[in-house]
């Protein structure tokens, strides 16, 4: 039998895969492998000792709780913004639509110092809240505010295309059958956009957990109180304690891969329902 090597009709397979894999190796693969090698040389006892230090554990709690709160608020606000942008006509709509992307375009450090300046007790917003005894900057509320800023485009951009595709004939059909608006929203629209909102929520959560630039300025970085995990890693690195930094990073990596996995699962389920079949 002749060699059964399949010839490809479209040219450029070898070249394109070669270039792709080379760049992928240099930029992603080799660094990841070196992380794995470095981890393999570490002592499990040391890793556990590092990640169970009270200060580290407290940082996990701060990071997780603020990211979760911010992402939940974003999930709700994101759906409202997407709804408003898709369904309503009003002056300034295009500008609002363009502005949603601002957190993607504005450097995080700039967002960080700007939000800090706004929310300290002498700032424009902070002074108002200070009168009723609420401090924003240098507290967990401040961290959450920064994370809301960072995460909002994820939910809006996940929900928007689904709403745009949602055929209004569904709603009309439901309306003809006598369903009221509340019911239509709950039974027809919500099930359609829920998976997308969940995806956006997951992406925002993943991003918020690892966020550094916008948070360091507003957080105040008080150990046990407002110290986020990325900052702990950063300070370990500044002390050249790479082993501790890597140990803490591993926990974060596992967590973000778990989120990524869950998002993919939700997306796969969603597309199966919409498209049918096993694809």
């Amino acid at each position: 039998m002749k060699k059964a090597k399949s010839k490809r009709v479209i040219p450029g397979f070898g070249l394109s895969l070669g270039v792709t894999l080379s760049i992928l190796s240099i930029v992603v693969l080799i660094p990841l492998v070196s992380l794995v090698i470095y981890t393999a040389q570490m002592d499990l006892g040391d890793i556990i000792e590092t990640i169970t230090r009270p200060r580290v554990l407290a940082s996990f709690k701060v990071s997780f709780l603020t990211a979760l709160t911010a992402s939940l608020i974003n999930a709700v606000m994101g759906v409202i913004l997407a709804w408003v942008l898709v369904r309503y006509q009003f002056p300034g709509k295009r500008i609002l639509d363009g502005m949603i992307e601002l957190p993607f375009a504005l450097p995080t450090a700039v967002a960080g110092i700007s939000l800090t300046a706004l929310t300290t007790d002498t700032g424009l917003i902070g002074s108002v809240f200070d009168k009723i005894g609420i401090k924003i900057a240098y507290t967990k509320i401040g961290i959450t505010v920064a994370l809301i800023f960072i995460g909002i485009p994820f939910v809006v951009r996940a929900v928007q295309p689904i709403l745009e595709k949602l055929d209004s004939s569904y709603e009309e059909a439901a309306g003809m059958l006598g369903a009221n608006r509340k019911k239509i929203f709950r039974k027809i629209i919500l099930p359609e956009i829920f998976p997308a909102a969940l995806t956006g929520f997951g992406l925002a959560l993943g991003r918020c957990i690892g966020e550094y630039g916008s948070v360091v300025f507003i957080a105040g970085n008080m150990p046990y109180e407002t110290e986020i995990t990325p900052l702990i890693i950063m300070s370990e690195l500044q002390e050249y304690d790479y082993a501790s930094a890597t140990a803490i990073a591993l926990v974060m990596l596992i967590f973000s891969f778990a989120i990524l996995f869950a998002v993919n699962l939700a997306q796969a389920r969603n597309s199966r329902i919409i498209n049918g079949g096993s694809k």
């Binding site: 009709v9 479209i10 040219p11 450029g12 397979f13 394109s16 270039v19 792709t20 760049i23 992928l24 930029v27 992603v28 693969l29 070196s34 992380l35 470095y38 606000m77 409202i80 913004l81 309503y88 300034g92 295009r94 609002l96 502005m99 949603i100 992307e101 601002l102 993607f104 375009a105 504005l106 450097p107 995080t108 450090a109 700039v110 967002a111 110092i113 700007s114 300046a117 706004l118 917003i125 505010v145 800023f149 309306g175 608006r181 993943g206 957990i209 690892g210 550094y212 630039g213 300025f217 990325p230 890693i233 950063m234 690195l237 790479y242 930094a245 990073a249 973000s256 989120i259 990524l260």
Partner: protein
């Protein structure tokens, strides 16, 4: 179904949205500008034309241009191989491409530190060849490439996937070369997505903070990008210069947003 109740809901939701956008998006922008101009035009000008600021601008531009170039090359080849051919391990490959955006920027910096830093097995060789990566410009560029890695391929792959391979097969059957097929048949489909990807990539590259912060030696005038320069100024309580430098980045962000809107609008119109 246009009754009064739905109108109230409509304006209530629009109101909430606009308030949110004002507080969380618009106000921070204005704050940057107003803080930057707090001590007047002269102070602003002095901060912006400071020699360290100028060198930070150049380094940021350099890192951004290189990141866009590398990710463009990668994005085009990766999108071509992923969407036009079947091969084993494709799923694994696309997952690998997405990894950089799922890890925290700090961790991105950390893994490059582990790869090229002092405790790395290849450090002695780099040292012997007199190549400095960590705490130097190459490290900053690498970190920037890493955090923006999938930005272009991610825009191209869905477009090419939905376009299928029929047109390319037809062109190949007629004997067209790979380059001809790409230029004449494929590229018109991805033109706008490609531009869009470049814009997103540039936006993220110029603003990257965490990963660059880990790998930079924070040497003023040498390894300081604009965002790092902002951090140093802010931490030294030099608020006006910090916001003045920030305003440069704000202007770049606004320009990018405008280009993005135009590209998206044109792209939709072309379909």
């Amino acid at each position: 179904m246009k009754n009064e109740g739905s109108k109230i809901v409509k304006w209530l939701l629009i109101g909430i949205s606009l308030l949110f956008a004002f507080l969380f998006l618009l106000l921070p922008l204005f704050t940057v500008i107003s803080e930057a101009l707090r001590n007047g035009w002269a102070a602003y000008k002095e901060a912006v034309t400071d020699e360290y600021t100028i060198s930070a601008i150049w380094l940021t531009v350099e890192a951004t241009v290189i990141a866009v170039l590398i990710n463009t090359i990668f994005g085009l080849f990766a999108a071509w191989s992923v969407t036009k051919f079947y091969f084993r391990g494709k799923k694994l490959m696309t997952t690998m491409i997405d990894i950089p955006v799922t890890v925290s920027p700090i961790i991105a910096g950390l893994i490059f530190l582990l790869t090229f830093g002092r405790q790395s097995p290849i450090y002695p060789y780099l040292q012997a060849a007199n190549i400095q990566i960590v705490f130097a410009v190459p490290g900053i560029v690498l970190a920037t490439v890493f955090v923006t890695f999938p930005f272009i391929s991610r825009e191209l792959i869905p477009v090419l996937e939905s376009q299928g391979t029929d047109e390319e097969e037809a062109a190949a059957l007629m004997g067209a070369s790979g380059l001809t097929i790409f230029r004449r048949v494929t590229f018109p489909h991805i033109k706008w997505a490609f531009l869009y990807g470049i814009v997103l990539c540039a936006a993220r590259a110029m603003g990257e903070f965490g990963a660059v912060s880990v790998l930079s030696g924070h040497l003023r005038g040498k390894t300081n990008t604009l965002p790092l320069h902002v951090e140093i100024l802010f931490n030294e309580f030099r608020y006006v210069p910090a916001f003045a430098v920030s305003s440069i980045l704000v202007m770049m962000a606004v320009v990018i947003l405008i280009i993005r809107s135009v590209v998206e609008y044109r792209g939709k119109g072309a379909e």
